[in-house]
């Protein structure tokens, strides 16, 4: 145990006005880590962002403001509270926070939830425990120093008398926030570090889990939208006569983003969408294609690039070297394709309130989006809706966050919120907007296409003496490429960004996904050019990064790198140190009789500091490897005439169970601060696979996805 002094401005103890009340503890925490700078609404004011509620019936509810999209916050956040509160895990319930400005900016992304909550949620549990200890001592009329909190009870040690937490909520609510409280040391943890079952699993195996698309409200109308096939185009004229003749179709009209059909049910709306005849104003992006973008990236003069990192004198060493190695890598646009298509439900109520039910990674951003629409409509003076809209105040927009059927960054964007609010303002009834999968694939905010130009040189011993990485792409940065972790005397990383000429969005693991591929595959190219074993060379050049070299050593040991067979199976390794975590992956690639290749096994070692729940870490690593393998071997968005060529899972395929290799995950235990787990497992997969191909065929990979059948 170690003592800390709770910041009394940080904790707020609330009791319900009624007798027999619950003890409610509000917690203020900083959420700057994942908050976009332009929307940072931090202030010195008290701003509780997570809540703990002890009800007289004995249940303990942790209210979580992070969106649950599979990555586990509905379980992980309560675990941290329960640990310090000294309660049995099976009494813990979870509720999603409603949207309220006092919660601060709600946004889930950047593998940040645990890192954000680590101190605050444990402190909240510890403060609540201290309050209950004080209340228990009062109830038992004994000195608090003689009491211990254990399994949801306050126990008077000398006499063995005890009183349950739920009998103490009234008294505890009247106690002041304590001057000191105790936090456990890692070796005292009994919940943190355990593979406790996820709280969201029971409802996810019987069809009861409610995702955004499952929102059902009385009298609800169903809408769908067709966007202009060309990026940025607008509807010019619409012939909806055939659509409107379908029974159940209520209306067809244009909004800013496209043409909307409103109907009595989803299928009727989808059917009507198919028979709309729309004349589009395509705008100025009709000549954009994958090829034109690559040409644009290649043609950009180097002088325009921004220097992200520079050390030593790369130019002199490279021009003086007769062993310079060069490479270019192209990685395609990727779509997110979460299984739950984009959707949102909104209701302008008779009392002037707007309610929104959104499967979103950022309820706060959804709120901002809804508010902006409402305000801009007022300013544009649309008479038909003006009266209704004038009744809408800033505090009268509610966003209810549902479960998310996958996020992967897609649901950080709020286009579906903007659209449904524009539609719902025309109706008294609630309206649910559902996109078809085709709209989802063709109107995503894509992981950008990137081109990486690499140059490097080795000395006579094969040691790396120069490294240059130029990252070209759409809204790109150097994260994962600079600072380069390898100990190389002359290094330079440049970024040449042409901006988001097609819709851009964060995609699971964002910039490190494209940069780590280039870094880690080029490392192997250079190692081989200098006749070095890439694994040994990595370990040598990572000696200043003990946590990272350790995960690589363990991975090599587990995958039996030393004893790897000659010929039939090829190995490739890659590493990453981002989001506070260190990951090494080793891919085993088998060559079959017909000169086909098959990924046999992926060994993954992660050091994410203190592990909250090892089974959820394992889930995230398994899922990340499969996500990475989809992008590395199957998925690719291409553009022609300003339109996306792909439209659904048949032509934008993702990995299936039959293509999934054996995956072994090893978690390194230590007492470092917890790191993120949602993203770090994705980036090493593609370069580890490319390195295995390089080992198998002697040929480097120049473009993703890799043709798994032939390399």
């Amino acid at each position: 145990m170690r003592s800390f002094s709770p910041d009394r401005r940080k904790f707020l103890k609330l009791s319900m006005a009624a007798a027999g009340s619950s003890l409610i503890l509000g917690i203020s925490w900083s959420c700057t880590q994942d908050t976009p700078s332009n929307t940072d609404n931090q202030s010195d004011n008290f701003s509780p962002n997570a809540w703990l509620r002890l009800d007289p019936d004995g249940s303990i509810t942790v209210i979580v403001a992070e969106s649950e999209m599979g990555q586990g916050p509905y379980t992980l956040m309560p675990m941290m509270v329960a640990e310090e509160l000294e309660v049995e895990w099976d009494r813990i319930k979870v509720e999603h926070a409603s949207l309220d400005p006092v919660y601060g900016y709600q946004l889930t992304g950047g593998s940040g939830s645990i890192r954000k909550g680590w101190s605050t949620l444990r402190e909240a549990g510890a403060v609540a425990k201290e309050l209950l200890l004080g209340a228990g001592a009062l109830a038992l009329s004994v000195p608090v120093i003689e009491c211990t909190a254990r399994l949801g009870k306050v126990v008077h040690n000398p006499s063995g008398r005890e009183v349950a937490y739920n009998e103490l909520t009234d008294i505890a609510a009247k106690q002041p926030i304590p001057g000191t409280a105790q936090l456990k040391e890692p070796n005292e943890f009994t919940i943190i570090g355990q593979p406790v079952p996820r709280l969201d699993v029971p409802e996810k195996i019987n069809g009861k889990a409610r995702f955004g698309i499952d929102t059902k409200l009385p009298g609800m109308l169903y809408a769908t939208i067709t966007h202009c096939p060309v990026f940025g185009g607008k509807p010019k004229s619409i012939d909806a006569s055939e659509a409107k003749s379908i029974k159940g179709v209520k209306d067809v009209f244009p909004i800013d983003e496209g043409v909307v059909v409103v109907a009595s049910d989803t299928w009727t709306a989808f059917k009507a969408k198919e028979v709309l005849s729309i004349d589009w104003e395509y705008g100025n992006k009709t000549r954009i294609s994958t090829e034109s973008i690559i040409n644009q990236l290649k043609a950009r003069p180097l002088e325009e690039a921004q220097t992200a990192w520079e050390e030593g004198d790369v130019e002199t060493v490279l021009s003086g070297s007769n062993a310079a190695v060069t490479a270019e890598y192209i990685q395609p646009f990727q779509a997110h394709v979460p299984l739950e298509p984009m959707n949102c439900t909104a209701h302008f109520k008779g009392d002037g309130r707007l309610e929104v039910w959104a499967p979103t990674q950022s309820p706060s951003s959804a709120y901002d989006t809804a508010k902006a629409i409402v305000q801009s409509k007022i300013e544009r003076g649309l008479k038909k809706v003006q009266k209704k809209l004038l009744g809408i105040h800033d505090d009268s927009i509610d966003v209810h966050t549902t479960l998310l059927g996958g996020g992967f960054g897609r649901r950080l964007k709020q286009d579906y919120v903007s659209e449904v609010v524009q539609v719902a303002q025309r109706y008294e009834q609630p309206v649910q907007l559902v996109w078809t999968r085709e709209e989802d694939v063709q109107h995503d905010h894509y992981h950008p296409l990137t081109l990486h130009k690499m140059r490097g040189a080795t000395d006579e011993n094969g040691m790396l003496i120069a490294w240059e990485h130029i990252i070209h792409g759409l809204k790109v940065n150097a994260s994962g490429a600079a600072t380069l972790l390898y100990d190389i005397p002359n290094t330079r990383v440049l970024v040449q960004d042409i901006g988001a000429i097609v819709p851009w969005g964060p995609w699971r693991s964002v910039a490190p996904h494209y940069n780590i591929f280039a870094v880690e595959h080029f490392f192997d190219e250079l190692a081989r050019a200098g006749n070095n074993d890439p694994l040994e060379l990595r370990l040598k050049l990572l000696r200043d990064h003990p946590r990272l070299s350790k995960v690589l050593e363990i991975a090599a040991d587990k995958a039996k790198w030393e004893a790897r067979p000659n010929g039939a199976i090829s190995y490739g390794a890659a590493v990453l140190s981002e989001w506070g975590s260190n990951v090494a992956q080793i891919v085993e690639l088998a060559e079959t009789d017909n000169k086909y290749f098959q990924v046999k096994k992926v060994t993954c070692v992660i050091d994410c500091g203190i592990v909250i729940n090892p089974d959820i870490v394992k889930q995230q690593m398994e899922g990340s490897i499969i996500f990475g393998l989809s992008a590395a071997t199957k998925s690719k968005i291409t553009i022609n005439n300003g339109r996306v060529d792909q439209s659904n899972y048949h032509n934008y395929p993702i990995l299936g169970i039959h293509e999934t290799p054996e995956i072994e995950v090893i978690i390194v235990n230590n007492e470092e601060e917890p790191g993120g787990i949602g993203e770090p497992g994705v980036p090493p997969l593609a370069p580890a696979l490319a390195n295995a191909f390089l080992s198998a065929t002697g040929k480097p990979i120049r473009e993703l996805p890799i043709n798994i059948e032939s390399g």
């Binding site: 599979g70 059902k216 398994e622 659904n648 993702i654």
Partner: protein
């Protein structure tokens, strides 16, 4: 039209060409069956039609009149089908959206195969997509469920 879902008869006011998926979701409020692609490419909408797995997005209302339909809501009274037990024990779901289709397909597989091999699993499950990547656990959970079912038989 009359259809039988999870042992209950429902009257549905929808055209014969309406996909069963939308009848279940929008007309009957059985939202456990999910829309993922609409073209039979993702498997999230898989239901049992006379105990055979079908994609509800491609199955028309007119084809299912008076046939027995089972959805995720109807496979067990208390979420205690051996497949559901195995899913919970091995903590399969992440986001959970595709899991109805996965579980229904696993139930179908185990109703025709006592001890499914990896190839059997691939054949039945390869069309049921999961973006979170729960496949390794799905494979293990199917094998665990198979053992549970055979234990139940022995105990009976």
């Amino acid at each position: 039209m009359q259809i039988s879902v999870n042992g209950k008869i429902h009257n549905v006011d929808a055209g014969e060409e309406t996909p069963l998926l939308w009848v279940l979701r929008d007309h009957l409020g059985l939202t456990g069956t999910k829309y993922g692609c609409g073209i039979g490419a993702c498997g999230s909408c898989t239901v049992l039609l006379e105990d055979e797995p079908v994609r509800a997005c491609l199955t028309l209302l007119g084809e299912v009149e008076n046939k027995k339909i089972t959805t995720i809501e109807g496979i067990s009274p208390e979420s205690n089908h051996p497949v559901q037990q195995a899913w919970e024990e091995l903590q399969v779901p992440q986001c959970g959206y595709c899991q109805s289709g996965q579980i229904i397909s696993a139930v179908a597989l185990l109703s025709e195969t006592d001890e499914p091999t990896d190839e059997d699993i691939d054949e039945m499950m390869s069309g049921i997509l999961c973006r979170c990547g729960t496949y390794p656990r799905i494979r293990e959970a199917i094998k665990l469920a198979a053992r549970k079912i055979s234990e139940q038989r022995i105990n009976q």
